[in-house]
């Protein structure tokens, strides 16, 4: 069974439209939702959470529409939101007390293990936490009630590299249990490249692709050559071009490039940056 299936999801606002998004997150996998600020990542997550109403399309969580029995389903979901926090005066202890009465399967011992592992103070008020500490606390909560699906909205943005690495390791550990899945949105592509099995790329409200990361890396490459040599490259194999006075750099489909050319490995960031650029530039 899939953890999450989104079909033809649309939501329009004044000046923005999330347009016909479809993606499937299999159980046991991590999917990265990548896109520039304002691409529709948060809107997608809010629609999954039912905190906004979709205009059309469907969202299934563990095989059932997210509007049915959603209160029960949220027991199986751990959520970290970009800018939604605990009250300012809250301490870790108070968060534990509230969550103990919120989640049926709240695991106090596991929560405090995460709190200690992430070096969070027990008595300090939430308002005195740094952004990194706030995110760590939210992640500790999301992981302490036996959730099967984690939804993380920009959980690593604004954090220092060490904190980001710590959080990415925790997320990775979470999917060691093959029934656990993660949907994580970020505009920090390198973070997602480290941990994701699938990459979904949103650009201006549209899903440009949703594919397995390894397939993407296999499929695309970077070709660097002169303008004259570039004329020999099949046009439909080119997905994006950067040009300067000396050479042409292009994102290409590897298997369609003549073997005389040397094609370098493309990172996920390369793939996204090239595809996001409008047109091929040719």
């Amino acid at each position: 069974m899939n953890a999450l299936v989104i079909k033809d999801l649309s939501k329009a606002y004044k000046g923005f439209k999330l347009d016909n998004i479809s993606l499937t997150l299999p159980r046991g996998c991590i999917m990265g939702l990548i896109g520039e600020n304002g691409a529709g990542k948060t809107t997608t997550i809010r629609l999954i959470l039912n905190s906004r109403k979709r205009d059309s399309g469907s969202i299934e969580i563990f095989g059932e529409d997210n509007r049915i029995n959603f209160k029960e389903k949220k027991e199986d979901m751990g959520v970290v939101l970009d800018e939604a926090y605990f009250p300012d005066n809250f301490t870790v202890k108070q968060v534990n007390v509230v969550m103990k009465s919120t989640y049926k399967r709240w695991n106090e011992e596991l929560f405090y293990r995460y709190i200690d592992k992430l070096s969070l103070p027990h008595e300090k008020a939430f308002k005195e936490f740094s952004r990194g500490m706030k995110m760590k606390l939210s992640i500790a909560v999301a992981l302490s009630h036996d959730a099967k699906l984690l939804l993380l909205d920009e959980a690593t943005s604004g954090l220092d590299p060490i904190a980001r690495d710590e959080i990415l390791n925790i997320i990775n550990d979470f999917t060691r249990d093959e029934s656990n899945s993660v949907l994580i949105s970020s505009h920090i592509v390198s973070d997602l490249e480290k941990i994701c099995d699938y990459i979904a790329f949103l650009h201006k409200g549209r899903l440009v692709f949703c594919e397995e990361k390894d397939e993407l890396l296999e499929k695309y490459g970077i070709l660097k050559c002169s303008r004259a040599d570039f004329e020999a490259v099949p046009p439909d194999a080119v997905k994006g071009v950067k040009e300067n006075n000396y050479c042409i750099e292009a994102l290409v489909e590897r298997r369609r490039i003549p073997s005389v050319f040397s094609v370098e490995r493309a990172s996920i960031e390369d793939i996204i940056v090239f595809i996001a650029r409008e047109g091929t530039g040719r």
């Binding site: 109403k53 959520v79 809250f90 108070q94 509230v98 009465s101």
Partner: protein, 210 residues
């Protein structure tokens, strides 16, 4: 919903303590001869607690987070109405307790039934405040709703004033009318209006995008 109520209690205890203390002072002032006007203040102060909590929730965007927890929107609305009722009950209990203490200090007990009636009136006042304001807060948020609170309060007061002016010539007549109503009529009307307000708030909040 228990988690939501505990969370609200933590917030009230830290941030709303000043309102609880003021309510206590006003209750004491009311029974020590400074007028029942202060008792009304006490009741409204306690009735304002859910709005205070909602304002603080908005500031830290707790409402966006709460919707991701295993609660329905109905639960979230209901928790604020429960605080309203608890606040109004607390105001009445405070008033009764202060009066009884004063009676024992003075050494002459008053009419207990009359005291209960006054306490119920106080509770109804607090409930009425939330009956009007909570749906507005759920629709616009506490910050944006301030203008609407003021506007609607002015309209309600003006409408009541108008009705009184048209149908009576004597304020005491109204006081007498309310006094002569059966014991539980006013609180029952208040709870009925609060129930209607709850249904409206649920409908508003279920359609609100967070």
């Amino acid at each position: 919903m228990k988690g939501l109520l505990i969370k609200d209690w933590f917030v009230i205890w830290k941030q709303g303590r000043i309102m609880i203390i003021l309510s206590l002072i006003y209750s004491i002032l009311a029974v020590t001869g400074s007028g029942y006007f202060f008792a009304g203040f006490s009741s409204v102060f306690l009735a304002m607690l859910p709005l205070t909590v909602m304002g603080l929730d908005e500031r830290c965007k707790w409402d966006h987070y709460a919707i991701a927890l295993p609660y329905s929107r109905k639960d979230i609305v209901m928790s604020k109405y429960i605080i309203t009722v608890l606040g109004a009950l607390a105001a009445s209990v405070l008033f009764i307790a202060s009066t009884v203490i004063k009676w024992s200090i003075d050494g002459n007990a008053g009419d207990f039934m009359s005291l209960m009636k006054q306490a119920f009136m106080l509770m109804s006042l607090g409930l009425f405040y939330s009956t009007i304001n909570l749906p507005i807060a759920f629709r616009f948020g506490v910050d944006k709703g301030r203008l609407w609170f003021t506007l609607i309060t002015v309209i309600v007061v003006a409408a009541l004033g108008g009705i009184i002016t048209i149908f009576t010539t004597d304020m005491e007549q109204i006081g007498g009318f309310i006094q002569n109503l059966p014991f539980l009529v006013v609180p029952m009307i208040s709870f009925a209006l609060l129930a209607v307000s709850y249904v409206i708030s649920v409908r508003i909040y279920e359609n609100r995008e967070l």
